[in-house]
Symmetry: C2
């Protein structure tokens, strides 16, 4: 059941980096991990495809970015996967890295981009034949934002960027905060009759049951929870966890069996929706349906003995680091109203969010910083970035889905979920993603050939 992808051998490497690129008082270094594969690399006319690692173990991203492996030969490319600081094994202060806000102080996008810059310069300096080769940044999701921002801030180091499912506009008031949950809802309403309507009603079913005498125990048993609900706050946590599950299923609604956040069947939203065909059912039946639906996501293997409310995805993602980033720079407002979406109404409350962050990490978010730094919607002076977005992906709401200029291109993939285009080619891929990938290769080849034309002119 588990999908095991075996890629060409790659080498695990380490590179010493400054913990603080932007200050000189702390003169400490740490080891960044990166993976490198040069089986198809050609010195003559080749290229370097550089994955700008995001919030997790780089090996996991490497194994879920089959696109780069698929095109390596055609692009005569060396593949490099750079791990993001504070994730995987690239911990600036080892086990202490997450101990407090002082140790976490160097976990920012700016530091991460500077890491990538130093690594690229190092690789060009030390790998014979690499110096005069074009580098392209690629990334998905947060890694896609980093790829785009890297091209914006370090255009001298990369000739272009493929930013897949990169919600660079999910900040401040650049897009409405309810756009994310609306897209999740659309996915569900298109994947089965009454599906989103049933889920919209399911919250009250849970609420009503929770209020009854033995309701918490009954809910815990009906949902096979590993840790039973004991107090009323647990019910909110339960609903948050279920909401996040539906969001995740929407994100990974891939057309084939896959194992990204969890092992899942093909088109998992459709499978989930099979349990939500009827919105007018007794509350107990509704909860039993929820349990069946949750099992699609948490128990596709059939091995799970109970469901754990504190987990929603693979442990390869660095939840601690991301929680800190969400509390500092990466403030991405979301909200729901229960009318245009299938979730309980939940407004965006910056004050509350900030207070929670302060409680958890001792820091306060700066929600307008990312648009100040990276330009918000005003990015038209940059060049050579492809923004690809799957139409099914809730993150596409904060993504660039229309061409900005003739070198800042948007590709929307109907039937595509979260960075589907970066995944390995699959027989079940819709034509739309196949076309997307060929278009991406076409543009990347253009950047590469433009680079070599300029290089020849200079020599």
């Amino acid at each position: 059941m588990d999908i095991i992808i075996i890629y060409l051998p790659h080498t695990n490497c380490l590179f010493y980096l400054m913990v603080d690129h932007f200050g000189f008082n702390i003169d400490r270094t740490f080891k960044q991990r990166y993976l490198i594969a040069d089986n198809y690399w050609k010195e003559d006319g080749g290229s370097i495809l550089f994955y700008t690692g995001n919030e997790g173990d780089i090996i996991w991203f490497c194994n879920n970015t089959g696109f780069m492996w698929d095109i390596a030969e055609e692009m005569k490319a060396m593949l490099v996967f750079a791990e993001h600081r504070y994730y995987g094994e690239s911990l600036p202060f080892g086990a202490d890295s997450f101990s407090d806000s002082r140790h976490l102080n160097f976990l920012t996008t700016e530091q991460a981009l500077a890491d990538f810059a130093k690594l690229i310069r190092y690789l060009k300096r030390t790998i014979p034949g690499a110096r005069n080769q074009p580098v392209i940044a690629l990334g998905g999701s947060y890694g896609g934002m980093l790829a785009a921002w890297f091209r914006m801030k370090y255009p001298h180091l990369v000739v272009g960027a493929l930013a897949s499912s990169a919600p660079i506009w999910q900040f401040n008031d650049l897009v409405p905060c309810d756009i994310f949950m609306k897209i999740v809802t659309t996915d569900f309403s298109q994947s089965g009759p009454n599906c989103s309507e049933s889920i919209r009603r399911s919250w009250d079913a849970i609420n009503r049951l929770a209020k009854k005498g033995p309701g918490l125990r009954w809910l815990s048993e009906a949902l096979h929870l590993c840790t039973p609900l004991t107090k009323s706050q647990d019910v909110q946590r339960l609903k948050d966890w279920i909401s996040e599950t539906w969001v995740n299923v929407a994100m990974v609604d891939y057309p084939y069996e896959s194992n990204f956040l969890q092992p899942l069947p093909a088109w998992p939203v459709k499978v989930v929706c099979q349990y939500f065909k009827y919105s007018n059912v007794p509350d107990t039946v509704m909860v039993q349906n929820i349990f069946q639906a949750l099992n699609v996501y948490y128990n596709y293997s059939g091995q799970a003995k109970c469901l754990n409310v504190s987990e929603t995805a693979t442990s390869s993602l660095g939840v601690l680091g991301w929680s800190y980033q969400a509390c500092t720079e990466m403030v991405m407002p979301t909200c729901s109203d229960g009318v245009d979406d299938m979730f309980e109404p939940h407004s965006w409350n910056m004050k509350e969010y900030s207070d929670d962050c302060f409680k958890q990490w001792g820091v306060r978010p700066r929600p307008s910083w990312i648009p100040t730094m990276y330009g918000g919607k005003n990015i038209s002076s940059h060049t050579n970035i492809i923004f690809s977005n799957g139409e099914l992906d809730p993150w596409s709401g904060g993504g660039v889905t229309k061409d900005i200029t003739d070198t800042l291109l948007a590709i929307v993939i109907p039937n595509g979920a979260h960075h589907l285009d970066l995944r390995a080619s699959n027989a079940l891929d819709p034509v739309s993603v196949q076309l997307t990938r060929s278009l991406e290769v076409k543009y990347m080849k253009q950047w590469i050939s433009d680079f070599y034309v300029r290089l020849r002119k200079m020599n």
Copy 2:
């Protein structure tokens, strides 16, 4: 004698900024000073000219950037002069700002550019009519580098930059380290017969005299030093101070009486060279000539009672802050060989430089960081930057003196010294600088009209 420039009234303002834009552990703010003048500003079709302050008091830069005042009406421009953190009155930790490397940790170009970015966003948000106006960054010298880098890193905030006398390539091995002193030498050799040759010989005259019994006392008296030389290291300091003086005179070799680094006559290098007509003179005569020449720079007012070896320029420059910056990011290698230039041979020794920095500030320079961050010579993907350089200016050696693309433009000003074009128009200005300024205005107007065309298209 003192040139007093009285500009239109401007308002001194303060803006609260984060001490650390790139970390969240220190949640402290400080007050940045900026000057604003809107007498000629028009809401309709106007612009904002934003001076990216450099290493000194912003009022002093404001008074030495008459060009902006001269063109304000024609450009319907609001003028903003932003003080650089750690200079003038913009001290993040008040009197403690320079106490140690911990307090100095936030003195970097990246933090300064982020300050400018926040200020521009703030002005656009709070000044009615400013929101939809194009901003142009202007700066000279280090401020010119900041202007260019600001356009490179924040093109969403400024439509272009005028970077006057900005030696963005005086880093690492981007240009030969001896280019700077060679240009100084050329200035002197072109400003009078035997001038550079005399200076080249003057060092040994000093050395020979210093070795004699009463030599130090004699030198101290002959040069009217405020603090007599007492040990042999003092002689090296003396020569360094004299060298720096000739460098400064070359920098401010303006065609009219001026008061930038010091009050000076027109064409001060020519005036200095009047005392260096004869290279074959006895050592004592040579030293008396040096004294006369030094007086041109240090005593044009005729008021100085003695010469102070520890000062070379106006106190409006922030020497402490700059010394720290030179020991961290702003490592600009210079060297001399005494053959192709008129100075004593002095090689560039990075190890020694780094050790000195560590002794003085407890930090070590990172000489390759600026090219990593700002692209070194590989900046062709940027647009709308004018690099102007005076041919007499030693800093032009590290500047951009040839067009890179049709929107990255270089203007070389024959007979121009350090950012002459940014100074107020003067009846004695050579035609070259008059032409330069009209060209600069032409390009800036183009950026502004392009901006308004885009704006109209969007609405």
